[in-house]
């Protein structure tokens, strides 16, 4: 089961790994640079403009970080996200992929926190990181014969995929750079969990219920799919 040495090889692979590593680093640098050099959005985070005295003194604790702290946090989290996402792309080993995905999902949760969507961030952590990802890892564990088994697609496909994805990314960036977003005026009211819950149980009641039913169906279906053959 753990005959790793066989699959891993010894000398040549490390050279390959080094080359691969430098390639990764180059791509990471380029992409994170793009993110960092992103133009200033037309919408400012309006924390500074009008906050209550409570928030100024920081007693409530839920106030988003203001001033310099926010960009610093954002860039840190965004870089983590991007690096982790690219790690998922590049990783060959499925468990490594899963760990990169873990980091990516966790930093997406951080992005949610930065976007003042606390509840969503927590749910992302619980459901995605605590649930989905574990499920994936389970899948990996239950299905892999050897941790170093790799299924490499043909090189041509790799190159094609890289070209297409790169082009798509560039095109998306162009769109983003050139898009003009409407500005938000006035105070940005905080979104409380209560609002979320109220909307879920009023406006979005039907989707909410449907999602519940779906989950149940999925539960039954998954149990059926993965059951022991008797």
């Amino acid at each position: 089961m753990f005959a790793r040495a066989k699959a891993r090889g010894s000398g040549g692979l490390s050279a390959q790994a080094k080359a691969c590593g430098s390639f990764r680093i180059a791509i990471l640098l380029v992409l994170t640079g793009m993110v960092l050099l992103a133009p200033t959005g037309s919408v400012a985070w309006a924390t500074d403009d009008a906050v209550t005295a409570e928030q100024q003194i920081g007693v409530t604790g839920a106030a988003p970080p203001g001033g310099l702290l926010e960009p610093i946090l954002f860039y840190a989290v965004a870089m983590t996200t991007v690096i982790a996402a690219l790690g998922v792309c590049i990783a060959k080993n499925i468990v490594r992929m899963a760990v990169w995905l873990f980091i990516a999902l966790g930093s997406v949760a951080m992005l949610y926190f930065l976007l003042a969507a606390d509840f969503l961030g927590a749910i992302q952590l619980i459901v995605y990181v605590g649930g989905t990802l574990i499920l994936l890892i389970f899948g990996v564990m239950l299905t892999s014969k050897s941790p170093w088994v790799r299924f490499e697609p043909p090189k041509l496909e790799l190159i094609g995929a890289a070209v297409v994805c790169g082009a798509l990314l560039v095109a998306l960036c162009v769109v983003l750079y050139s898009a003009v977003w409407p500005e938000t005026e006035g105070v940005v009211p905080g979104v409380s969990v209560a609002d979320l819950g109220r909307r879920l149980l009023t406006t979005y009641l039907v989707p909410f219920e449907v999602a519940g039913v779906l989950l149940m169906i999925v539960m039954v279906g998954a149990a059926h799919l993965a059951r022991q053959e008797k």
Binding site: A109, G130, G131
Partner: protein
């Protein structure tokens, strides 16, 4: 290969003067920093922050120095038996002192804050943080009557959130560090007593008090081993995956109304999420170890934690339903009115939910009888098999920290949080004087109560661990999916109905509700008083009860 050293044995020929020297150096550095801080604030900010420094930073310094001193004592006996004997008391005293100081500072600030807020509300043009900091004069003028002038520099820096964060975080890190050190020693003592042994008795002097620090030092000094066939990166990453969520959970855990680093609206969900992440560390550690036992342990753990999160979360929904908030502060504050206002007694479902939650939480932080992932009799040590040294210690730090977090959750959600069994309204007439606040903080509500209750449930966990046999993995999953899950679902439903019935505000229901609450409260009281009573009985008859206790002389002594 690092040489094994046994630091607590005297080595007269070589000596080990390095460690206390480092401690002294650290103290000196800290003092220098403090001096610079004093100078800077005195020069540029026109305040007199030295008192503040003493008040806020001194306990931290004291604690660190005391710890350093204690280590020094334990490693170098030449310092003398007196200091050696008193070191634990110094240490504990330092900890308590630091806690009290932080508490006092916080209380002071709370007191001043109200005036500041009032001032800001009265005068729209008043100086705020964004226009520049409040001056000392402004603080004095904002709270003229009661605040002595000398105290204003003490609270001046607290208006800066960053500063407050730094203070709180320091305190939390100290707590986070001390809890495992203390609990591990305590657990070993408890285990010993339960098994008619004495537990650690040697290291230190007074009941082996230095055993945990000594182990910690040993672990730090151990060789940093990574198995050859392991996935090196993930192997090294795993402990951080474990400890970061555990530490982060303290961010949202309130020790009191205002004693919270970040009072989130969704604190409960946040803490649950962070506790849930811990499983990733276990899986990664197990997989990266490239060891059969490790991966078995990891898979078991993953199964168990993922499964038990569901009943745990469902059980926690019950108090959430009763209060109508996910904020731990609000939930805690809803139980201010004494023993019978605690949520565990609010309805029968909550009472059962408390028990269910406690069981599920035991499983989700892999404590006995659910400690299958590390079942040493079957799996060597489960996912920890290949770990040693500081990485291993990090896992344990995470585990014990998580233990305290779940105990804290239990206390906040079910058992009144930081409130004492006495109703807070009894102190309403005492006014808002500083003395009254302090007294109320001790008598009615304060972090001390939270810590006390949390520690009690920690003790319950230890107690369960050393009295219950480990159960099989199929029993674990059976208990979760077929017992706890339906049970908690029923509890949520029943609690919902109960709350809904209470919303009708019918008189009969109110009376019924009160009666049920009283009955449950009395049952809880019987438990709460019964345990100390039994303990007291045991203590009184300890000679007879532990008559079979055998104290063999250790070999060589």
């Amino acid at each position: 290969m690092t040489q094994f050293s046994v630091p607590w044995l005297p080595r007269p020929e070589r000596g080990n003067y390095g460690f206390p020297a480092k401690a002294v150096v650290a103290a000196i550095v800290l003092l220098v920093v403090a001096a610079v801080f004093y100078w800077v604030t005195n020069t540029f900010l026109g305040g007199r922050p030295v008192a503040m420094l003493l008040l806020v930073a001194a306990p931290i310094l004291v604690a660190i120095m005391a710890a350093a001193a204690a280590f020094a004592v334990s490693t170098w006996r030449a310092w003398g038996p007196i200091l050696f004997k008193t070191a634990p008391f110094l240490l504990i005293g330092a900890v308590i002192a630091s806690c009290v100081c932080v508490w006092a500072a916080n209380a002071l600030f709370e007191w001043a804050r109200e005036d500041l807020v009032a001032a800001a509300a009265n005068d729209p043009g008043a100086t705020t943080w964004f226009n520049g900091p409040l001056t000392l004069d402004e603080i004095v003028s904002a709270s003229p009557a009661l605040l002595p002038a000398w105290i204003s520099p003490l609270i001046w820096p607290l208006q800066f959130p960053l500063f407050r964060d730094v203070v709180s975080m320091t305190t939390l890190i100290i707590f986070f560090t001390i809890v495992p050190v203390f609990v591990i020693w305590w657990e070993r003592k408890v285990a010993g007593r339960i098994q008619s042994r004495l537990g650690p008795m040697r290291v230190g002097g007074w009941h082996g008090w230095a055993q945990s620090p000594a182990d910690g030092i040993k672990l730090v000094l151990k060789e940093d081993l990574v198995p050859k066939e392991a996935d090196r990166i993930l192997f090294r990453l795993a402990p951080y995956f474990a400890i970061i969520p555990a530490a982060a959970a303290y961010m949202a855990l309130p020790f009191g109304v205002t004693y919270v680093f970040r009072d989130l609206d969704i604190a409960l969900v946040f803490i649950l999420a962070l506790l849930g992440i811990g499983v990733v560390a276990v899986i990664v550690a197990g997989w990266a170890s490239n060891n059969k036992w490790s991966i078995y342990g990891a898979m078991r753990e993953a199964c168990q934690m993922v499964s038990y999160e569901i009943p745990m979360g469902m059980a926690l929904l019950v108090p959430v339903l009763c209060v109508g908030s996910l904020s731990l502060r609000e939930i805690g504050e809803a139980q201010a009115e004494g023993w019978f206002s605690w949520l565990a007694f609010s309805n029968p479902f909550a009472f059962i939910a408390f028990v269910s939650y406690f069981i599920a939480s035991l499983a989700s932080c892999k404590r006995a009888p659910f400690d299958l992932p590390e079942a040493e009799s079957e799996l060597v040590a489960g996912f920890l098999t290949e770990y040693s040294g500081f990485r291993w210690a990090l896992f344990f730090f995470a585990e014990y920290a998580a233990m305290f977090v779940i105990c804290g959750l239990a206390v906040i959600l079910f058992l009144g949080g930081w409130h004492s069994p006495l109703p807070a309204s009894w102190g309403a007439a005492w006014g808002d004087g500083i003395l009254a606040r302090g007294l109320k903080g001790v008598l009615f509500s304060g972090p001390i109560w939270f810590v006390l209750k949390g520690t009690f449930f920690l003790y319950v966990q230890l107690w369960l661990r050393w009295t219950l046999p480990r159960i099989r993995i199929d029993q674990v999953l059976y208990a979760c999916i077929q017992v706890l899950l339906p049970l908690t679902m029923i509890l949520v439903l029943g609690s919902t109905l109960w709350v809904w019935a209470g919303m009708s505000e019918s008189g009969a229901w109110t009376v019924f509700d009160r009666i049920v609450t009283w009955v449950l409260g009395v049952v809880g009281m019987i438990f709460a008083l019964g345990l100390p009573a039994i303990a007291a009985y045991g203590f009184y008859h300890r000679r007879r009860l532990v008559g079979s206790l055998v104290i063999d002389p250790l070999p060589g002594s």
